[in-house]
């Protein structure tokens, strides 16, 4: 990356409000954040503090009420819905607690899905899925269905799907929430390795052990970033 390259992920004064009147909830308030290549940031905070909203906004799943979300310097708000979805699909990898694998597709088809949606050739998709599955230690499981593999394997398949292609940003929402400590450590090791290879990563977790894998831990409380993990 040249010194003038934009950060893979930047949030500028992001506010996110749901509902109105007495039901108005400020889920995020004036949050600014930059994540550089090779940096893994852990997001912690009490339940309902806005952690998952932060991840959804960063992952272009939820548009902010105000403020800007820049992916590789591109503001998704300036794009058409189609181009915005393409930006999310090609540059952002998302991992969720409950894997979100499509049950009627094989593991390999799940992993290659983002590339197929991009219109890549089937042979290229299969080869990319094979490599991605190998990277997370799931060689030979491409033809299984999600219900035929363990929770730890399903999460690694979800990570393989998140890693496939040229993703610059990896976002994970409680990726270890349904896993035992040893399997959770293995999942974090995979995410960490990919970030060390140059991606920008953000992981929402309530487990201090897994925050220990991050370079920086930020704390969100009542929608505000109360500790950005910088120098005290």
């Amino acid at each position: 990356m040249s010194p003038t390259s934009p950060a893979p992920l930047e949030l500028q004064n992001v506010t996110c409000v749901f509902g109105s009147g007495p039901r108005r909830v400020v889920a995020l308030e004036d949050v600014s954040l930059v994540i550089e290549p090779g940096e893994l940031v852990a997001v912690m905070g009490p339940s309902g503090s806005g952690k998952s909203t932060l991840l959804n906004v960063a992952g272009l799943l939820q548009p902010p009420t105000s403020g800007r979300v820049l992916v590789d310097g591109v503001d998704a708000a300036d794009l058409s819905p189609t181009r915005s979805a393409e930006l999310r699909r090609t540059r952002i990898g998302l991992v969720f607690q409950h894997y979100n694998l499509v049950p009627t597709l094989t593991v390999g088809e799940n992993v290659s899905l983002p590339l197929e949606l991009d219109g890549r050739a089937p042979a290229e998709c299969r080869e990319a899925a094979r490599i991605a599955l190998q990277e997370v230690g799931l060689d030979g499981l491409a033809d299984r269905f999600p219900e035929e593999i363990s929770g730890g394997q399903a999460q690694r398949a979800a990570i393989a799907r998140a890693l496939i292609g040229e993703r610059a940003v990896l976002l994970a929402d409680e990726p270890t929430g349904a896993l035992d400590t040893t399997t959770g450590d293995a999942v974090l090791r995979i995410l960490r390795d990919r970030v060390d290879a140059g991606a920008a990563g953000m992981i929402v977790t309530h487990e201090p052990r897994f925050a220990g894998w991050a370079d920086r831990t930020i704390v969100v409380r009542d929608g505000r970033l109360v500790d950005d993990g910088g120098e005290l």
Binding site: P46, H206, R209, G212, D215, T217, V219
Partner: protein, 177 residues
């Protein structure tokens, strides 16, 4: 550190001199807990006095001087068996500085309790980060170093969870004077 029981455990494998025991302890624990020869000889003296070990001849040591070797007595074997079979009881930490500090802060309106918890959490997670980096370089085996690091990681994790728990609790009512 339970030097007494550690020496008994190694003597259960055969007769050894003081320097052999020191070397073997260092090898078995990857020198995580350094043990000097003075500690070994003093402890051996006490074990012999208490009838838990006895001399078993001499060998020629590394400096060509004769060195006594030791073996377990029946009483020593029984004491060691008891140690293996008995769970270790950790002493209660009834004067934990952090608990005392947070307790006082919780009842002092001039102290920003949440800020205090945030600073402590950050320090705890910073230590956790250092240990996680170290653990990534260690083999996934039950070596003394790995066990020590895993134990420390879980202690720090417990501390961070305790801080979360404190934050979730409500403020105590002020005491009537």
């Amino acid at each position: 550190m339970p030097i007494k029981h550690s020496l008994l455990a190694m003597l259960a494998d055969g007769r050894h001199s003081a320097s052999q025991l020191q070397q073997q302890f260092s090898e078995r624990t990857q020198a995580v807990w350094p043990l000097n020869i003075g500690q070994v000889t003093q402890t051996l003296g006490r074990l012999e006095r208490d009838g838990l070990i006895e001399t078993a001849g001499t060998i020629t040591g590394a400096n060509n001087r004769p060195a006594d070797t030791y073996r377990l007595t029946t009483a020593g074997t029984e004491l060691l068996d008891d140690w293996w079979s008995r769970p270790v009881q950790r002493p209660p930490t009834d004067r934990d500085e952090l608990v005392i500090k947070v307790s006082l802060a919780a009842q002092n309106r001039s102290v920003d309790l949440i800020g205090l918890l945030d600073r402590q959490r950050r320090a705890t997670i910073a230590q956790l980060r250092e240990l996680t980096r170290l653990s990534r370089t260690l083999d996934h085996t039950r070596t003394a170093e790995r066990l020590q690091v895993e134990r420390r990681i879980l202690d720090l994790e417990s501390e961070a969870r305790w801080l979360d728990r404190v934050e979730a609790l409500s403020t105590p009512r002020p005491q009537e004077s």
